[in-house]
């Protein structure tokens, strides 16, 4: 306890999962997340856990479905193209209301794209990705300590709401090294998994069925209404963001994940120049931290969303700001990571132009 260990992002995420009681990991190689399945293949046998290198990402997510249905804490990880393959399975997991944790160490796309960091999977992560009206809880860490803490929380959230949780990282986060501390935190009281398909002998002889098929349209609508009610509870209770220097800010930069770290450096720089700039860093991308925005909207004059994409989260920022203030966008694509100076230059231009 209290010990800080220098670890690579992908490995820290793996260890956090093990510390959270995950004993079933199903993976498939893809850069830049390979260290995660590799780490799990080393660690799982040491803790009496299971690592399976699946034949595909499709198989891996369906193994997660099976293991989660049988009542275990199960995880899979991949990067963008592999996450695309998992979408049908993720939709099934959401539909059948199974707890599971999925890690996406995002790279540039579309198609095979590249292997450098990207944030082009935001839409896929928060707007569905797979078919049907479902939601994932999407958490975006900006440093390794937060990644470790959020993985712990992800398993609890998944169990608590019986919902898949996505950790949205990027190549930068997966590959960097930072000291981390694994804290033994108990976040919530979790209900027993009485619904698990682990054999009648384990749950009093009643047949348990894991299923997402509801052929009767009224039944299916009811099922959907129930899901939406659950999502509404999550929206109410699980918004998470970091707000930096927004009290007197004229402009708030909005950025998540690795980009937010860079934006933070830009904020420090701009503050030294006397410019009143703050940062809103969404940590939960779904639910989008609307409540945090509401604190800032009345006082700032404008927003600048910065992403490693052509502009995806900015749509949610615009929905949230709802025309009250101008929302600007700056993005880099294809694995290009924006430099603090580029972001600062954007801010100077906006603030200069506003005068």
């Amino acid at each position: 306890m209290g010990e800080r260990i220098l670890m690579k992002g992908n490995e820290a995420i793996g260890e956090a999962a093990i510390k959270a009681g995950c004993r079933f990991f199903f993976g498939y190689p893809i850069t830049p997340q390979n260290e995660l399945p590799e780490y799990m293949s080393r660690r799982m046998p040491q803790v009496d856990g299971t690592f399976v290198q699946a034949e595909s990402e499709i198989a891996a997510i369906n193994m997660v479905y099976g293991a989660a249905g049988a009542g275990a804490r199960a995880m899979t990880s991949s990067s963008s193209p592999g996450i695309s393959l998992k979408q049908e399975g993720i939709s099934y997991i959401a539909g059948a209301e199974l707890p599971a944790v999925i890690v996406n160490i995002v790279r540039g796309g579309p198609g095979l794209g590249g292997i450098q960091p990207g944030q082009g999977d935001y839409f896929q992560s928060v707007k569905g990705g797979g078919h049907g009206d479902y939601r994932l809880i999407v958490l975006a860490p900006a440093n390794l300590q937060e990644a470790v803490d959020l993985v712990t929380e992800a398993f609890d959230l998944a169990d608590y709401y019986r919902n898949p949780v996505l950790i949205l990282g990027d190549g930068l986060l997966g590959q960097m090294m930072e000291p981390v501390e694994f804290k033994a935190t108990k976040l919530r009281e979790l209900p027993a998994k009485e619904w698990a398909t682990n054999g009648l002998r384990n749950h009093g002889g009643k047949t348990n069925i894991i299923n997402s098929l509801v052929l009767d349209p009224h039944g299916l609508e009811e099922h959907n209404i129930r899901l939406q009610e659950k999502y509404a509870r999550i929206v109410e209770a699980e918004q998470k963001a970091e707000i930096v220097d927004c009290d007197d800010a004229e402009l708030a930069i909005v950025a998540y994940g690795s980009t937010a770290r860079i934006a933070k450096t830009a904020v420090t720089q701009l503050r030294q120049e006397g410019l009143k700039v703050g940062l809103i860093r969404p940590i939960s991308l779904w639910p989008f931290p609307v409540k945090d925005f509401e604190k800032v909207i009345p006082t700032v004059k404008s927003f600048l969303t910065v992403e490693m994409s052509a502009g995806q989260m900015v749509e949610d920022v615009r929905l949230t700001v709802n025309g009250c203030k101008p929302v600007y966008f700056y993005g880099r694509m294809g694995g290009i990571v924006p430099a603090p100076e580029e972001i600062a230059a954007q801010v100077r231009e906006i603030l200069g132009g506003a005068k």
Partner: protein
């Protein structure tokens, strides 16, 4: 009075949705009888496919999971790894297993997952209305091979059991049929052996069962049983294709 025939306890007391003359019902019953006989209903977890048997989760009284199309062997892998002392079976049609789920079945077999797959081969996509399956016989008309399966354009049927038997992973692979009583009895024996091998930890087991689809074949139930015998059997020969206890068979 002595009761000589009753519903197996592993089979739920509900009407099924299967068409008249379809042999899915017989196959369900055989599985349920084996589960009863082995006394394992309280530690069995079944995986239903996407296909006519999708509602199998309502027909067995053991725990059940419904899997995405073709992915039952991956789902079963996840379940069995969590519950190694259970009996886990998948129930899959030929579109499910031999087409979209080809990768999953091959790799579950190669890993020698300790599961039992019941592979129901009726040579057609039943649920979606009679399209060509990978197992559709050459010349057979379906809604997507309306001129008859032309092997020069639509390829040849896959003999899944023989293909999987080339792998080192499987412990037991048999092809059986349910077109008459003698074969139903043999099918039951094969299913039982597969479950027994699984329980003994011998490795992956699969029983392919030739089945009928009178509705989509467009013939009567009796004609359908005859078609299994006269047309399917020559292409899909019956027998124990692999049995690690008996060595390779041909």
């Amino acid at each position: 009075m002595v009761k000589v025939f009753e519903r197996p306890k592993a089979l739920a007391d509900v009407p099924t949705h299967y068409c008249p003359g379809c042999t899915h019902g017989i196959i369900h019953r055989l599985i349920a009888e084996v589960i009863d006989e082995l006394g394992i209903v309280d530690k069995t977890i079944g995986v239903a496919p996407v296909g006519c048997a999708v509602l199998a989760y309502n027909y067995f009284t053991c725990d059940m999971q419904q899997a995405a199309h073709g992915r039952a062997p991956a789902v079963a892998t996840g379940i069995k790894r969590v519950c190694p002392d259970s009996a886990v079976f998948t129930y899959q049609g030929d579109g499910d297993l031999a087409s979209i789920g080809c990768a999953e079945i091959v790799h579950a077999a190669a890993r020698s997952e300790q599961i039992t797959t019941i592979f129901v081969n009726n040579g057609i996509y039943g649920m979606t209305g009679g399209q060509m399956a990978p197992t559709t016989l050459p010349g057979d008309k379906t809604t997507t091979s309306p001129y008859g399966r032309d092997t020069s354009k639509q390829g040849f049927p896959i003999r899944i059991s023989e293909m999987l038997a080339t792998l080192d992973g499987p412990a037991y692979i048999a092809r059986v049929s349910v077109h008459n009583v003698a074969n139903i009895v043999r099918a039951r024996k094969a299913i039982k052996k597969a479950f027994e091998y699984q329980l003994a930890g011998k490795g992956f087991t699969l029983v392919e069962i030739l089945s009928t689809c009178p509705t989509n074949w467009g013939i009567t139930p009796i004609e359908a049983l005859n078609k299994v015998k006269s047309e399917m059997l020559p292409y899909f020969p019956l027998g124990e294709i692999k049995d690690i206890e008996a060595g390779e068979k041909k």
